[in-house]
């Protein structure tokens, strides 16, 4: 029977069959929930009762009118600062470990290791490090006679976001580094050698020859960092629960609380959609900016 079908038809049937499974999975677990999210954002629903009532754009109005929701973005901004620092550090280590350093593979593994670790485990680990009374960090500070610096790291509304930002840096720096490293190795060695022969110093080679060749990867890393900071969730959720007094609430922990604590699924869905829109806008701006830069 198969012989009677033309080759191109066979090919087409095969392609359709192969694609069927992933498409069904995609629709079922990704597209349908996403569509449902949009639907819910126009509804008023408490999360369990059978009836949902139409709310129109009231939920979106509320998102944009509520001051507290936008204040939470201020906390996300702190993560962004640490994220930029994280990128710089990742690039620095990548440049360092791209040279003929002794034992560089061991260093690479060490720096990448935090990224492999489970986020919850990392959170618990740093919970011990930064505990105000028994934590290793404060013990170290006290040991050096810096008692006044040994504050409650998760308890101080001013410090808490920076501590969480630092933990994010520790965890994701390795990922940035590996991506940079891969990019650095794809820079043609001929032009680097040519620069060296022309008498460029190592710093000049890095700045003038290597970096312009990896702008796209820098852009990608910034993309990942910005998304990560806008969607920061697990660390504050596990370590501080948004505390002290809401000082470490991020946009997402607020969204979760709105849905599951205050049973307002409509508003929470609208917040999620707003976040998605915001990510698109921020990335659009970033792309415009970096395109001009790379030209």
């Amino acid at each position: 029977m198969v012989d009677s079908l033309s080759y191109s038809l066979q090919k087409r049937i095969l392609i359709v069959l192969f694609l069927l499974v992933p498409i069904v999975l995609l629709v079922l677990f990704s597209l349908y929930p996403a569509g449902y999210l949009v639907y819910l954002s126009f509804m008023s629903w408490d999360g369990f009762s059978p009836e949902k009532t139409w709310a129109g754009i009231a939920n979106y109005k509320e998102v944009f009118q509520t001051k507290e929701i936008w204040q939470a973005f201020g906390h996300n901004f702190v993560y962004l600062i640490w994220g930029l620092f994280q990128n710089a550090l990742g690039l620095f280590f990548a440049l360092l470990l791209n040279s003929r350093l002794k034992g560089r593979n061991a260093y690479r593994v060490m720096l990448f290791m935090p990224y492999i670790m489970n986020g919850v485990a990392v959170a618990y680990m740093f919970n011990y490090v930064f505990n105000s009374e028994y934590g290793s960090f404060n013990t170290l500070l006290r040991g050096m006679g810096l008692d006044s610096l040994a504050i409650s790291w998760f308890g101080s509304p001013k410090a808490v976001n920076h501590v969480l930002g630092f933990i994010t840096l520790w965890k994701f720096m390795g990922l940035n580094m590996v991506i940079y490293l891969a990019a650095l190795q794809s820079v043609p060695s001929e032009i680097v050698e040519a620069a060296k022969i022309d008498g460029a110093s190592r710093f000049q080679t890095s700045m003038r020859v290597v970096l312009p060749n990896i702008t796209q990867v820098i852009e990608l890393n910034l993309f990942l960092t910005i998304i990560g900071t806008l969607e920061m969730f697990d660390l504050p959720f596990i370590l501080t629960g948004g505390g002290p007094l809401g000082a470490s609430d991020t946009f997402l922990t607020k969204t979760i609380a709105t849905a599951f604590k205050f049973n307002n699924f409509g508003l929470a869905s609208a917040m999620s959609i707003t976040l998605i829109a915001l990510v698109v806008v921020v990335l659009g701006v970033q792309r415009l900016a970096t395109r001009r830069w790379s030209d």
């Binding site: 408490d46 999360g47 369990f48 009762s49 059978p50 507290e68 986020g119 505990n131 105000s132 009374e133 409650s152 998760f154 308890g155 101080s156 990922l175 590996v178 991506i179 891969a182 990019a183 190795q185 794809s186 043609p188 990867v217 990608l220 990942l224 998304i227 990560g228 969607e231 969730f233 697990d234 959720f237 629960g241 505390g243 002290p244 007094l245 809401g246 979760i256 609380a257 709105t258 599951f260 604590k261 205050f262 049973n263 307002n264």
Partner: protein, 445 residues
């Protein structure tokens, strides 16, 4: 060269994939702190073996009790041990019945999903809805014949019908470590508010944390609104908010009641660093005598026991909220037994609840207070508490209107108490009053 590019590409896609994976999987794991708070209340008590105290045999009301039901419970740590024992006793009493226990870790969230899908298990711990939604999900339990004998009859009622019976009653009181008191030279538990502060000063001088709060976890603070309700004279305090635009005033019940906790904070009688004080650590500190007192439910006695403090060293008395020498005690309810409205075997489900309440011996096994008025807990700490002759108040469910306004303004009572304690009371009250007023007006309540 080409290989390197491929590696870079792989790393990039892997990175994005991992990040995306991270983001979506995180959304699933949310346990609200309030849920874990109430889950804790019925939890982790060492089973002291005692005979089942059967009050009366269940009357079957003519219907045949046979078949299979499912029982979903939040008490996961007991699901394979004590609860199984109760189920076996039930099945022995009614041959031909099977009860499947389903211990759910993320109980409230799981049940809410099933509620939305209309697939509730036959017997469950009632997940709170608005009162008018109760008949949609749950079966009335009035025909169990327990109505005159239970505490919190009104809590899960609507339109005169009873939909849930609390699984235990918790009495809030001043829990203290007698060894810590002795070390600070305190012979007797405080009888007045002044004595309470004087004792706290002595404890502080002895290097002991006078009053533990587990401030960071916040749910442990919720009991500190009790003094406000004592001063108000009834547990209507929260619901009566609906009648006013300025429910929180410094010289009113909230200001005076929460003022007690605030004074403790201002004078340095709470944990040294309140922001890192957790419930896990607090239990250990109370048991070891590093901390002396805590205002919490009687269920916490078993937590101190399991942390190694002997029963003789645990004291439990009413909190002296003023200097009058008269006392009040707060009774709070726990998760409630309920039968699903869609259950296919309601007679069996009801008989099972009746058995759990009357004959299982749960309250004696776990040193808790039975919801049945005629089952007295003989634990010394409870009889000591009652010897003060406190006027007992019953907590009330939050009215629909108040709940609607609170949810809309995103009122988090735990955070509210935290803010009042560490902040400037007048400012905190002002901002909450403002939000309360505008939200109430917006909802037209």
């Amino acid at each position: 060269m080409k290989k390197k590019n491929v590696a870079a590409g792989l790393a990039i896609t892997l990175g994005i994939g991992l990040l995306a994976g991270c983001g979506s999987s995180n959304d699933d794991s949310n346990a609200s702190p309030s849920a874990s708070a109430s889950a804790d209340t019925g939890a982790s008590a060492p089973a002291s073996e005692s005979a089942s105290a059967g009050a009366s045999g269940a009357d079957n009301g003519g219907e045949e009790i046979k078949g299979t039901i499912t029982w979903a419970t939040h008490r996961t740590e007991l699901a394979d041990t004590d609860l199984k024992k109760y189920v076996e006793a039930f099945e022995a009493k009614y041959p031909g019945t099977t009860v499947k226990i389903e211990g759910l870790k993320d109980y409230e969230q799981t049940i809410r999903v099933r509620m939305a899908a209309n697939e509730l298990p036959d017997v469950l711990s009632l997940v709170e809805t608005t009162q008018s939604d109760l008949p949609k999900f749950y079966e009335p339990l009035d025909d169990l014949g327990l109505n005159d004998n239970i505490y919190f009859k009104d809590y899960n009622s609507y339109d005169g019908k009873l939909y849930g019976i609390t699984q235990q009653v918790a009495i809030n009181g001043l829990l203290y470590n007698k060894q810590a008191f002795a070390k600070a030279g305190i012979a007797e538990p405080p009888k007045t508010l002044d004595e309470l502060f004087a004792d706290a000063e002595k404890l502080k001088a002895a290097g002991i944390v006078p009053m533990a709060t587990a401030f960071k976890d916040a749910w442990t603070l919720q009991y500190w609104t009790d003094p406000a309700e004592f001063i108000y004279g009834s547990t209507d305090l929260r619901n009566d908010k609906i009648n006013t635009d300025t429910p929180f005033t410094v010289d009113g019940a909230y200001g005076q009641g929460l003022g007690i906790l605030k004074q403790f904070y201002d004078k340095g009688y709470l944990e040294k660093d309140v922001y890192s004080a957790t419930w896990d650590q607090t239990q250990k500190d109370l048991a070891s005598g590093k901390a002396a007192m805590m205002y919490i439910g009687n269920w916490a006695i078993s937590n101190l026991l399991s942390n190694g403090l002997s029963l003789d060293d645990i004291g439990f008395v009413p909190l002296p909220y003023d200097n009058s020498g008269t006392y009040k005690g707060m009774m709070r309810n726990d998760w409630a037994y309920a039968v699903s409205a869609t259950s296919k075997n309601k007679p069996l489900a009801k008989a099972f609840i009746k058995f759990l309440l009357e004959e299982s011996g749960d309250y004696a096994d776990h040193m808790i207070i039975s919801p049945l008025k005629d089952q007295q807990q003989s634990l010394k700490q409870i009889t000591d508490f009652m010897a003060y002759n406190p006027e007992m108040l019953e907590a009330q469910s939050i009215s629909e209107d108040v709940k609607a306004v609170e949810n809309k303004m995103q009122f988090d009572p735990f955070k509210f108490i935290q803010e009042v304690t560490v902040g400037k009371m007048q400012d905190v009250f002002d901002s909450y009053n403002k939000k309360w007023k505008s939200t109430k007006a917006a909802l037209g309540k």
